[in-house]
Subunit: 283 residues, 2 copies
């Protein structure tokens, strides 16, 4: 099963999130059954990153969006920890600062686009500017429509410059969110993060659903696709995201560069001499 | 054995790298024997990072320097891959660009200093500006001396702002370097990196040794210590660096913040209601 086909947000169709089962598990019944496949994709991520870094022809941008407790941090820590941290950069976009707000909404994002050979992971992104701003009525309808267009153009420009873009919406049910909030309440390593606003945002669930459905449809393209990932089961989310990124990087058909020097010559000039020298020393 | 004491570069003594055995293995004879200890320190790195991120009182800056093939990349990939990539940022400093050269030598470094809650790892660093520049006679003696002072002041400022600084020189023997170069020649995933200049730099080994000895002595302080890590054995290098970072973060005595909301109140207001609602639905 190629999850790129199954979870792709087709811009020519109307996305209805209620049609996607957040508890979907594919052909694996349990985390244990999926573990070997996930490990294989993780290992592919490592080797493909090594090729990407060596070849320096492509770059990769991964965007993660979700409602609170949707699993963005978990995906970073469990899927993308497979990458060598050198060459894979995670940027978390928080509430914009006054300086950032004084610029166009892509100004703070652009500097974090990946260079050739590199992978950038956005934990939240420029999509917040068509999601949270819309739900809280900070922007009007024409601004929203204009921003969809700006995002499409921005991403097209990145793609033309050699960036492979993959965008994931981690889709959980409303019940699963509450269950995850409840887990946090009981966990002293995480309960310091809880605020009333988590619950206030939760009350806007239906507004966020509409905002996501529209934003994803308006900005999913072949060169910058959105995927709706069923994410109630963390192990399935990790499997699906790993597979989609690994398969996509595989399709780049990368190869290691040829040596720029004559290897035989280098061996003769430097290594043979050193061996002789060493031999002489030991005599 | 606290490797912080054993490998610390005492600024009041004259550092002689030939007095440090690059093949040192501590009390472990083999990689297998050290594996459990290294795994324990790695797991401590993960939990301490989580505390660092939560508390947001401290930041950590790790500097890696070594001659070619000394193991900087390997240390990033094997030791610091333990960190959650969100909140641990690796910066590789390459040959400066014309724009960077048009500024003071710390200009390109400062923006990568870690924010509170974060860890920054420098693969090469501002120390290149007192090492490679000195060996290649790009700077004169007064400039070198002035740069030592600038570095000490810069790091003092970071330390005063809550940054814990740890600097590692990965120390390998000249023979080990040649053996690692030879391995690269035979490895199609790495032989594309080989250039004649690697061997040209190798010919300057003694000049680099003097440059490192002087730079480390001139800039090792209690708040920004240098450690000379025996690095012929990669497993020992990984163990020693893991231990030093883990023990140092442990000494920060961090704790999770207290919740800012009344947890019982949150439970009552949001979770009790939801349970009742759910019960009603199932009735």
């Amino acid at each position: 099963m190629d999850y790129r086909d199954l979870f792709f947000v087709d811009p020519d169709k109307t996305l209805k999130l209620k049609d996607v089962d957040p508890a979907y598990k594919g052909h694996h019944e349990t985390a244990e059954a999926a573990a070997a496949d996930t490990a294989r994709y993780q290992s592919e991520l490592m080797s493909r990153q090594s090729l990407l870094y060596a070849e320096k022809n492509h770059s990769v941008l991964i965007v993660l969006q979700a409602l609170d407790a949707g699993g963005k941090d978990g995906t970073v820590n469990h899927v993308f920890a497979a990458f060598n941290p050198q060459g894979a950069n995670v940027t978390g976009f928080k509430q914009p600062t006054p300086l950032e707000l004084a610029h166009d909404f892509l100004w703070r994002v652009h500097p974090h686009a990946p260079a050739k050979g590199e992978i950038a992971i956005f934990n939240r992104s420029h999509y917040e500017d068509v999601l949270v701003t819309r739900v809280h009525k900070l922007i009007d309808k024409p601004t929203l429509t204009a921003r969809y267009a700006r995002i499409r153009e921005f991403e097209k420009g990145l793609a033309e410059a050699g960036t492979t873009i993959l965008k994931f919406f981690l889709h959980i049910s409303k019940e699963e969110q509450l269950a995850r909030f409840a887990e946090r309440l009981d966990d002293p390593e995480r309960n310091w993060k809880i605020s009333e606003s988590d619950y206030a945002e939760r009350a806007l669930w239906d507004d966020y659903t509409i905002a996501f459905e529209e934003a994803l449809s308006a900005t999913s393209t072949r060169h910058a696709p959105w995927f709706v990932i069923p994410a109630n089961h963390k192990w399935f989310r990790n499997l699906a995201v790993s597979q989609i990124v690994a398969d996509t990087m595989d399709d780049l058909h990368m190869s290691y560069p040829k040596p720029t020097v004559d290897l035989a010559d280098i061996r003769r000039k430097y290594h043979a001499a050193e061996k002789a020298e060493k031999k002489q020393q030991t005599n």
